[in-house]
Amino acid sequence: MRLLTHNLLQCHVKGCSTNNYPLRVEATNVVHKEADFNPEFITHMLQKIEWNALRTTASALGVAELPEILPLSMEGQEELLKQIHLVLMETHIMDGKLVCPGCSHEYLVTHGVGNMLLIEDEV
């Protein structure tokens, strides 16, 4: 699971609607896989992601230290875009857990695929 996908997911246990994002990553295996750098796509994705969540997750995993505030325009910010690319596209959670900060529900990640299904008593 890429950190990009992690950035899109929240806890959806019945009744858990506040403090359910971002899910805390407790990973046992995080790998780095090279991906093609596409600055237009990264800029496009910046509108879709939650910057603070990405920043704290990247920092907690020790991947990169991203600036607190994004510059208004990404023009000429190649270095920063490359760093965001590293976090969003090249960092994969292979095995571990995503833990809800509110209700402590745990979603498992195995072989790089997150299982977001709830079980019978949670829906």
Partner: protein, 407 residues
């Protein structure tokens, strides 16, 4: 609102994008003869041709016939008949700026006969090549990883066209399965997120048998963002996640059962150490509810102007009234494909107009829910449905007999 395009009629429209300068179908075949008057008879066609050729652009003219072979002399002779048109530019057969095509059509019932009845002549301007070759390249027959309901490659491309996929679009399919519908999107440069309730489809445990394989095979792996195990009835995406397009072929309960996680009151909590191996109990997912959930999901999670393209089954004539309605979405098209028996499946394209308010929900006609229940294979759901109807009637009866209570 268009009713009942067939698959082939849409495909045909997509196949050879060209501007017709004349159309012999408007002629009466018994009287239509091959003369210069028919070739550019319409004033619209003449204007189109003059605009295309000016100012002095190089051109070529290809002559071909359907259901008859034309010799080189025949072709040359046909070209000479176009002498009356003013071509200001030079002839360039290899790299023309304007490519003209002259197509003669003969009666197809008498194959390759020299005296097959002449049907008409088409004179057309080439716009661009079609993309038919993609269908062979992405054929399911040569796909390494498919399942029982993998989407036919032509239809999958059709869906990608309907969804207006562009390079850099972010596309999601909540019933991705083997990702058959997402591969064409990846081909057009979109980035893919796939979801499915079945962890076996998504799992990367066996590297040769999972949804990722389809992308690896076509060297599109860089376009696949992730696959996630999700349940359509419970969205796990943060509320303000916006996809550029959502494509889906939900299970119809015919070849593949439609399922969602069951709500079990007083269920025993599963101990943490057993959760990894625990497969939650699933129940039948009524078709109308599934479709409404999907449309509601799309209304929330599409960008404004983004499109939802999905298939839904009917057990009856594919009517427009079966298409779900959402106040925040607009119907673009409803195209049907006949299936076995009286079944059809319809491909619905909806476009998001604005972000929905919490009260704006998808609705589907009662009649649709009814025919889907009546034709459901599950006796259990039929019994449940009848019980619900009986209960509803009973409540109405009680309400009708005690009108004074509220007064």
């Amino acid at each position: 609102m268009t009713l009942r395009h067939t698959q082939s009629s849409i495909c045909r429209r997509r196949r050879t994008p060209s501007a017709w300068l004349s159309d012999a179908r408007s002629c009466d075949p018994s009287t239509c003869t091959w003369d210069t008057a028919t070739v550019t008879s319409s004033s619209e066609g003449r204007v189109l041709l003059e605009t295309a050729l000016a100012p002095a652009r190089s051109f070529s003219c290809t002559v071909a016939a359907c259901y008859r072979r034309l010799s080189l002399q025949d072709k040359e002779e046909r070209r000479r008949r176009l002498d009356y048109i003013d071509f200001p530019g030079p002839i360039d057969m290899k790299n023309p700026e304007v490519a003209l095509h002259l197509l003669e059509l003969y009666d197809g019932t008498v194959l390759h006969s020299t005296d097959a009845p002449f049907y008409g002549v088409f004179f057309a301007l080439w716009l661009r090549d079609g993309v038919r070759s993609l269908v062979t390249h992405y054929s399911l027959k040569t796909r390494t990883y498919i399942n029982t309901t993998s989407m036919n490659e032509t239809l999958a491309f059709l869906m990608a066209h309907q969804a207006l996929i562009k390079p850099g679009s972010v596309v999601f399919d909540p019933f991705a399965g083997s990702c058959g519908m997402l591969v064409p999107c990846a081909h057009y440069g979109a980035f893919i997120v796939g979801g499915d309730i079945d962890p076996r489809m998504m799992s990367a445990k066996d590297p040769t048998h999972n949804a990722r394989m389809s992308f690896v095979q076509y060297k599109l792996e860089s376009q696949l963002l992730d696959v996630v195990v999700t349940d359509n009835s419970h969205s796990t995406f943060r509320g303000n996640v916006k996809f550029d397009a959502i494509l889906s072929d939900p299970p119809y309960g015919i070849r593949e059962a439609a399922k969602k996680i069951a709500q079990v009151p007083n269920a025993k909590p599963i101990p943490l150490e057993k959760r990894a191996a625990h497969i939650p109990r699933k129940i039948q997912y009524a078709q109308d509810l599934l479709i409404c959930d999907l449309v509601d999901f799309a209304a929330t999670h599409l960008v404004v102007g983004g499109r939802l393209v999905f298939w839904m089954p009917t057990h009856d004539e594919p009517l427009d009234e079966y298409v779900p309605i959402h106040p925040a979405m607009r119907l673009i098209s409803n195209s049907s494909q006949p299936m076995a028996g009286r079944r059809h499946r319809i491909m619905v394209t909806l476009q998001k107009l604005h972000d929905p308010t919490p009260t704006e929900r998808a609705t589907i006609s009662e009649k649709y829910a009814q025919i889907m229940f009546e034709n459901s294979r599950s006796t259990q759901s039929k019994i449940k449905y009848q019980a619900e109807l009986a209960e509803q009637a009973e409540q109405e009866r009680i309400a009708a007999t005690s009108p004074g209570d509220n007064a």
